[in-house]
Symmetry: D2
Subunit: 334 residues, 4 copies
């Protein structure tokens, strides 16, 4: 049994705690959160250890690995400490909002052979990974275009938006990683266009955008289009399309259930989409944890790691700069 402690017991942390507790080959090694009462409740529910400090976690010989779901600003520090303490690492995205900080972290942990996994959960979605697999198996021939539609069901609270790092680092970051996952090769050019259509005043205040389109290209000319909106009233819109010389593979949306309604006015109406990521990617979060457990068991590197976290941020930086300059940015400029 792999012993994993969870750092950070907010919404996503609690979900990871539940998944670890139910996992056949993992043991929930304890929890920590700066919000002690929240952490206590989680510990009680699962009859596990409540650590008094981060140091206690890292000092515990029983703990094999840490799952980092604290606030973004602490991620890089915790990764460095975990490496120093010889614990395997699962870290929620993004590593940091600053590319410089990511690079300095990279330097510090260089050479470690500990499994370090980044929480790009969508790679573990059955539909999205089936698209990637179809590409790998040659079912679409040579890949020409990847189209990612990714729209949140609703704007996050203002307070969150204000510190999120902007749409590219907070929301598109998942899509940048998905683009890299499906394309299977490095992206060299990035163009972005942004609009303020959902909440113009908030976006102006934050110098941010709520509706963006990104067009990217690889060295071999493959194109990738991402379109994002902070609010899709019909639910969490998550589609991936891979178009190639021999066909196309699409990962389709997930309505809440498989009902179809027919009436005098319409036919074949489906319910609204699953809403939100803990529902929509519930299976994927489980598969993700299983992959992490397997990597620890076998001492191998996860399929998605630190470098992927860094490259996604490079694309986010390129997108931000493209909007400002109104031109294509080459990733080597970042």
């Amino acid at each position: 049994m792999v012993n994993i402690a969870v750092l950070g017991t907010g919404r996503i942390g609690q979900m990871h705690v539940d998944n670890l507790a139910a996992h056949p080959r993992a043991q929930l090694g304890g929890v920590f959160d700066v919000n002690t009462s929240a952490a206590q409740a989680v510990a009680n529910k699962h009859n596990t250890i409540l650590f008094n400090s981060i140091n206690d976690v890292f000092a515990s010989p029983k703990v094999d690995a840490v799952l980092i779901s604290t606030s973004t600003a602490t991620h890089a520090d915790l990764i460095e400490q975990a490496v120093a303490a010889n614990k395997a690492i699962f870290c929620e995205k993004p590593i940091d909002l600053s590319l410089d900080r990511i690079k300095s972290c990279e330097q510090k942990i260089k050479g470690t052979s500990l499994p370090i996994m980044l929480g790009f959960v969508r790679r573990f979605d059955k539909g999205h990974s089936a698209v990637r697999q179809a590409v790998e198996l040659g079912k679409v021939g040579d890949l020409h275009q990847v189209i990612i539609t990714s729209r949140d069901p609703d704007m996050a609270p203002d307070a969150y938006i204000e510190v999120s790092g902007g749409i590219f680092k907070d929301m598109t970051i998942h899509d940048f990683d998905m683009a890299r996952f499906i394309l299977g090769e490095d992206i060299t050019e990035v163009f972005a266009s942004g609009s303020r259509l959902v909440n113009e005043s908030l976006m102006k205040r934050c110098n941010d955008y709520d509706t963006v389109t990104i067009v990217m290209k690889t060295a071999s000319g493959k194109q990738c289009i991402i379109n994002n909106s902070r609010r899709a009233v019909y639910g969490y819109d998550q589609r991936v399309e891979a178009f190639g010389s021999q066909g196309m593979a699409i990962s389709e949306n997930h309505p809440m259930n498989n009902l179809r309604l027919y009436s005098t006015e319409f036919t074949d109406q489906k319910p609204a989409l699953m809403n939100f990521f803990i529902d929509r990617y519930g299976d994927a979060f489980n598969t993700e944890i299983s992959h992490f457990v397997e990597c620890i068991e076998q001492g191998k590197q996860p399929k998605v790691g630190f470098e992927d976290g860094k490259q996604a941020l490079v694309l986010a930086e390129a997108a931000s700069r493209s909007i400002i300059e109104g031109r294509t940015i080459h990733t080597k400029e970042i």
Copy 2:
């Protein structure tokens, strides 16, 4: 150019007239209807001959074939006259409401080599015929079950229902033929169940049913289920499913257009179904006429003819009797 005269210029007759006029290898040879003014209008529109009598049509040496879309009671007589006049025949279904009359007609025209085609238009629908083709190509393996869903968009006028011959001979007749078409072998057993749910008082008065289910079996055990309703508020519901040992083929419904709507309450909503047979089977009516033209040109028998019209009526008779007796009827009992 094949010269075809149209007898009966009601709604369906007019549609055939339009199709013949537009056909590249057919010539509209003239029209006749007991309602002279209606026929005159049609003749004017297409600048064609208005015949003064049926006899004039049959006497015309220019006319190669007649398309019979008059009232049902006249079909058998007209078929006999057409054979006597050496004209190829396209006759709308049913041949007659009486199996005895059909059999006497059969005797009279026995031995003719003239093309005689029955207007079971659904055989020429792209989707339905693709199901049949899939079966023939072995794509579903051995056929086990055929499920036909067939619901009209609305009840016909009372006056029509009263003289229609009942739901089995008027409406299910198309589905009986579709069952034979897809199954590709003789049906030996028929069970039917009827309800009065759409218009109970009218159905009672007519000793008829508006909602029926028919279960049939072939000698080799293949099953076929037909479910009918006189009114589907979402439009003309026309589905055919062929299930077998290696797969399944389905002919799906046709919404009015390919719009999909998403809102706060729903996703992927399609418009109501095409409504009614002249729209839904518009392409098929054209293909049907083309097949008739080709049969005349090549002097060959149509893919669907007199015997098919007769067998569909046998099944209708069996269904009627099954409802009365509450048991499976063997077609050899009819």
Copy 3:
């Protein structure tokens, strides 16, 4: 926390064990199986009690309820014993293969107020229950026809088929209950037709059918059609259609994931269906257990209980007799 012991740790029993262990308000109270080593493994995995005998389970004051997933022949006895021991009951379907035995059991437990729940899991499927809800909310108007398509992905092992009680009591039993669930009123007439198309020799030997169609009617004339096959090569085909005066509600199939493939030959191809009941109805099994826990907590009767188990068997008996006699059987004849 509700303490529930599991009797029978075969495939479905193990799944219930896992669900109970993960349930926030239930406690796995221990397990028992005549196959002691299998039960031991399950007990070890979940660190729970291995009971030495059924009597020990019923004697334990900690156990609030039993979940019966033993072989069918033991169900009625265990229900009687559980009632005597004052334990709430969740029993897998069917109660028994003999209607007489069910009736004698009914007599014995008459008057108990203990929650007794039958494992008709499909009532808890999101899609199927959404169809029922649509009917209740009047979204389809007056219900006219219910069409249930239910095909297993493959024939069970011969040894199982031989003792299953026949297709109606083993497989269609779920569909009979679904029919009652969706219709919401008593079924009065049953007609059945059976074929041997999947494995003719086995079916002949067992005097059973692998391909059946059942047509049923309620007193008010509502129709229900069930079509079953023991083998659908594309996966577990589970569809429910409710057609009424104002519309239609359909519960659609569940492909393995949401991939769509396009190639030179085809478009929009989905993967095979989820396969088999533990996958397809995985969510429903969880919801089912939650409902049972809630009933125990609140001392209320489950939405699906002993009477439902009995009525489903009445329909199975009627179907068997209809095939033999080739006629509609009235349920009052059973």
Copy 4:
């Protein structure tokens, strides 16, 4: 009856001829083509006049209107001559490959009240126009993003590609117009990205691209994405998506028929898409001509005219320049 002569009897011209011949309120007034034998065959088929020269067409007092489906280079001249001859005009797209020529033509015909219609046939597609209607009716709320997927089934012949004017003026031109149609407001910014993935050598030789993505914005910030490929092996891929604050409307693809196939490996497989524009937009070409006839009858301007043809070319020019300069081009720069 409106008398319309057809200039240019190539593939698309012949289709227009057939539609005019079948139209209830139009009369085919004759045909002309520099390829006299082709024109003769068309004239014979429809028993209409073969004009000896363009001048004869314009001189004919019977001719009310001309349908121009000659080669692109002749369009502007013919429009000018038709206006001089007082004939209503239907002209296939594009008006010309040179924006300057379009502007000089515009000057010459300024002030005419003759109906002048451009052949942007997709505006008359049932699905696409239903999307526009949904937007107009407020069904998607405020429009935020329009996504147009437009992929030809296969590369046109090399000889055609070489003189086509490039992908933006030849193929994307339809999508530029669709963008304007759905957005309902002027586009101010254009960014384009091009790749050579289908036929690299041909594209290099022509200084053209076979795979392009265009991102556009209106003054109010609405975004529009077009993605094009010269070859989609699964057929003619034509989708339009309008996403807004209250929902989404999509015009979906048209498979060849409504067959769905299920097998051991897959479910719900549809046939390849309709292939090519004369099939896919067959209905739309008919509706288009009806609109033109109606405009002539009522002396009103068509819903899509000269200005739309000009604006689509402005966008094409902007896209070409954007690729060269790697930046967003403002349409006022063109």
